[in-house]
């Protein structure tokens, strides 16, 4: 009130005297009102701005979205894969899934947003983290460049042609678990029935172990996996009781089975051994009796399968097989089910006879049996078995499992560029399943089946680099390229647009004729592309991929080849095609099938030609200079295995395989499987299959 002064005992407003004062008075009030309006408007705009920029809405939305999605995925029966693309966040975000809650927050801040999701207690609890990265560039090119340094393979190449794909992560659901890491799942795991089998203290319940072996002498063979598994379980866990060996059983000597009487107080009976059924090698069968307790027995068998089948378990067939005991032959080992002493007992028969002794890791199978019983009896909060190996075959650990899944490109920590000319062409995990020594023809083809299965899974999990023109140097795992300069130059220009091409070449005219230019291009390509991904991906072209696979299966490149490059299957840019031979005498799958362009090759003809003619292991020239492996007839879930792949015309109505390309377009590609060989071939050329080599296969394995 500085403008107020005292005069003659009363307050008089100094400036507000007279007409001028009135005007001033009014002006001040107007100014006051204007200021008020501005303050209010400013506050409103600030409020709107806060709402617009605040992440509360996005976090809330995403948490609910993920909660409902995860619930739905838990409900989904069977095996499934689902990729989730979150709404764009302007800052890095952390998603955490734990205790049936999804927790979303900005990285480095503690403002959490939760939402719940339903968990199926038959499955392992979902407890994983996802980190959403962002790129900091403003425009497409900059973002692409930034991602190229550190991004994953998928985003790296996609970013060159279009804006980088949004960050995403993928749910993998099997019968055992929901995970964001395919490397910790196994699609053969089963969905288990829901029935209450909870016991308060199951460690005090008696579990009876039985062994059923082909001959009485087997019971004293300490090297047999069946005996060792039973011994391990009985020795480690006090409630496991092992049947006495040498006790004459009721099955008679015909089967050679020796069984003790099953105690009445045994809660569960686990039978391990040989059911005497002829199966495909590599099959895991668990038999259960058809009786009043079958639901629980199915649940236990299902848990056993799910615990035995970890991510790196390589088997070909798994089944829970109900058995009508009355229908069995008298000497069938499965008649052991008739020995149940109580209808309330659960009894399962684990048949591991379709695996060789060295394929059964007795320690891990024993642990799996114990864990399955633990889960069966109600232990819900089990830790995830990320990276653990409870498997029949025990390849070396693959890609590191566990830890957060990083969706989207990393924004820091770009790996240093290597300047050397060569690098490991194949990740160790892909060769962990290879034969240690040379195998014969039939053994090798059996092995090829498992290698193809494993490689396909590994390749599709991570995406295999398809270095066009890349070759694997003979006798080593070093990867090089065949030095096709024009293709390399085009590739470099597309993928490294900001990097100058080697000055020794002529980028303007594309002149790459000089030897120095070609060598420099080869070196640059090697360091920037091949070496960059060599530790993780297999460097090969379509043919050398298959060559490496054959080599992995048979253990040698030299024995079974007629090609001067000592590879069993050589094709592609080298122009040479070789079949598969056994020391030049017995030929197996000698034919390389090509596709004829003849006018008379109608679809029906193709199908007719395919029928019975293709064999597992055949190499098919799908299109000129592009080769795939025929994998039908071997029990695999697909009929074509293709490294690299090609683009089907969309109008062809193709039913794609279970897996699609990791990367579409040119350049590095993934491995794809196709489960309709006839359709694929038909779409490829609208032609017919013709043999490129003359010799008929003299032996049929599958």
């Amino acid at each position: 009130m500085g403008f107020v002064r005292k005069k003659r005992g009363m307050l008089v407003l100094g400036p507000f005297r007279g007409k001028k004062a009135d005007i001033m008075h009014e002006i001040y009030f107007l100014m006051f009102q204007l200021i008020m309006v501005f303050v209010v408007a400013l506050a409103l705009f600030q409020y709107i701005n806060n709402v617009a920029t605040d992440l509360g809405f996005e976090k809330r939305f995403t948490s609910i979205d993920l909660g409902l999605l995860t619930t739905t995925i838990y409900y989904a029966p069977g095996t499934m894969k689902h990729t989730y693309i979150p709404i764009p966040f302007p800052v890095p975000m952390d998603f955490s899934f734990d205790n049936s809650l999804v927790d979303i927050k900005e990285r480095g801040k503690d403002l959490h947003m939760f939402y719940w999701f339903l968990s199926d207690t038959d499955l392992d609890p979902l407890s994983e983290d996802v980190q959403i990265q962002i790129s900091r560039g403003e425009d497409t090119a900059e973002r692409g460049t930034e991602q190229s340094k550190v991004g994953t393979m998928t985003t790296w190449f996609a970013s060159r042609k279009s804006p980088p794909p949004p960050p995403n992560f993928t749910y993998y659901k099997t019968g055992r678990q929901v995970s964001f890491d395919q490397n910790v799942t196994n699609p053969l795991q089963q969905v288990c029935p829901v029935v209450n089998t909870t016991v308060e203290e199951w460690s005090s319940e008696k579990i009876f172990l039985m062994k059923v072996l082909p001959s009485p002498q087997d019971y004293s063979n300490a090297e047999l996996p069946t005996n060792r598994i039973a011994q391990i379980l009985a020795a480690r866990y006090s409630n496991f009781e092992m049947s006495g060996t040498g006790t004459a059983g009721s099955l008679g000597s015909g089967s050679g089975s020796l069984i003790s009487a099953i105690p009445d107080d045994a809660k569960a009976v686990i039978v391990i051994g040989d059911a005497g059924e002829e199966r495909e090698p590599g099959s895991l069968i668990i038999y259960i009796p058809v009786d009043s307790n079958m639901m629980k027995e199915r649940k236990l068998a299902c848990f056993l399968i799910n615990d035995i089948l970890t991510a790196d378990t390589v088997i070909f067939y798994v089944q829970i097989m109900p058995i009508y005991v009355e229908a069995l032959d008298d000497d069938s080992p499965l008649r052991v089910f008739a020995e149940k002493s109580s209808p309330d007992q659960v009894m399962v028969f684990i048949d591991i006879s379709d695996f060789t002794d060295d394929q059964v890791d007795v320690e891990k199978v024993s642990e799996a049996v114990y864990r399955a019983l633990d889960r069966y009896h109600g232990a819900f909060n089990l830790p995830l078995i990320s990276g653990a190996t409870l498997s029949f075959t025990a390849p070396a650990a693959g890609a590191a499992a566990g830890g957060p899944v990083v969706a989207g490109p990393e924004v820091s920590g770009a790996p240093p560029e290597r300047l050397t000319g060569t690098g490991d062409s194949a990740p160790a995990r892909m060769f962990s399943v290879c034969s240690s020594g040379e195998l014969g023809l039939e053994q090798g083809m059996q092995k090829l089946k498992s290698v193809a299965q494993y490689w396909a899974e590994q390749s599709m999990a991570d995406g295999a680099v398809y270095v066009k023109g890349g070759i694997t140097v003979r006798g080593s795992l070093q990867c090089s390229n065949n030095g096709r300069p024009k293709w390399i130059m085009e590739t470099l220009k597309r993928y490294y647009p900001s990097d100058p091409l080697p000055s020794i070449c002529n980028p303007a005219t594309g002149d790459t004729q000089t030897a120095e230019c070609r060598e420099e291009l080869r070196r640059v390509y090697q360091t920037k592309v091949v070496d960059h991904f060599s530790g993780k991906y297999l460097c090969a072209d379509c043919a050398t991929y298959l060559a490496q696979m054959f080599r992995c299966a048979f253990g040698s490149l030299h024995k079974y080849t007629t090609h001067p490059l000592t590879m069993p299957v050589i094709a592609g840019t080298h122009g040479a095609i070789s079949g598969y031979s056994d020391e030049g005498d017995v030929r197996f799958n000698d034919a390389v099938w090509g596709v004829d362009k003849g006018e008379n090759c109608w679809d029906s003809v193709i199908v007719a030609q395919l029928g019975g003619r293709l064999q597992f292991g055949d190499v098919i020239e799908l299109i000129p200079n592009h080769y795939v492996l025929y994998t039908g007839g071997a029990g695999l879930s697909y009929e074509l295995l293709e490294m690299g792949g090609f683009a089907f015309p969309s109008s062809a109505g193709i039913t794609r395989g279970d897996y699609s390309f990791k990367i579409n377009g040119e350049g590095p590609r993934g491995v794809r499987t196709e489960n309709r060989a006839d359709i694929a071939l038909r779409a490829a050329r609208k032609g017919c299959l013709v043999r490129r080599a003359g010799n008929e296969p003299s032996r049929k394995v599958f």
């Binding site: 009363m10 307050l11 008089v12 407003l13 507000f16 005297r17 009135d22 005007i23 008075h25 009014e26 009030f29 009102q33 008020m36 309006v37 209010v40 409103l44 409020y47 709107i48 709402v51 509360g56 809405f57 809330r60 939305f61 948490s63 609910i64 909660g67 409902l68 619930t71 739905t72 838990y74 409900y75 029966p77 205790n99 049936s100 809650l101 927790d103 959490h112 939760f114 939402y115 719940w116 339903l118 968990s119 199926d120 207690t121 038959d122 089963q190 969905v191 029935p193 829901v194 029935v195 209450n196 909870t198 058809v290 079958m294 639901m295 199915r298 299902c302 829970i320 109900p322 819900f380």
Partner: protein, 190 residues
Amino acid sequence: MVVDKRQFAAGRKGIMSFNFLVMIPRIIFLVIMMIVCVILIRMFLNNKFDVTDIQSEVLIDGMLYGAGGVGYLDPVTGRTYPEVIDPDQLNSYELDNTLYYPANNIISARIVVGKGTLLVGEPSLFRAVYYNKEWYDNWEPLLRWNIAGIGGVKDYTREFPIILRRPDGSLTSGEVHFQVIQPRSARAQR
């Protein structure tokens, strides 16, 4: 608005008082306008999500079509038959112990299957089971009060024609009725 001094002989103090009084409705009007603006903005900025119906739908669909729900599970084949229900397999205990939420005060449901009614139809096929019966019993009486705020609960009902499996294995038509109740106050927190 300028006050004529000649009409107010009470002096300048009176004029000032009058002017201040005149300002009051102006300020009140200004405040009202501010409030109206805020209300309008809040009306157009929807920052809340009500997904209770979706959540109920997911629960119902999961129970009806997913493994671990109310669908008939053939123990021989291990296959779950969607929309086929074996009343003898329905069990509140199994539902409670299979479907896990981090807290039990989130959602509850009552599932009734039957053919016709208890009086007209096949009484032997009539079953009523619950998911989270403890809280269903707590919340169900609140439905009649229809409390709109966070103190209330909300229900969601669906009916489906299904196939019922008799104990002898024969099949017949029937109905299943789901009633899902959720509190309006449920908030996820750790």
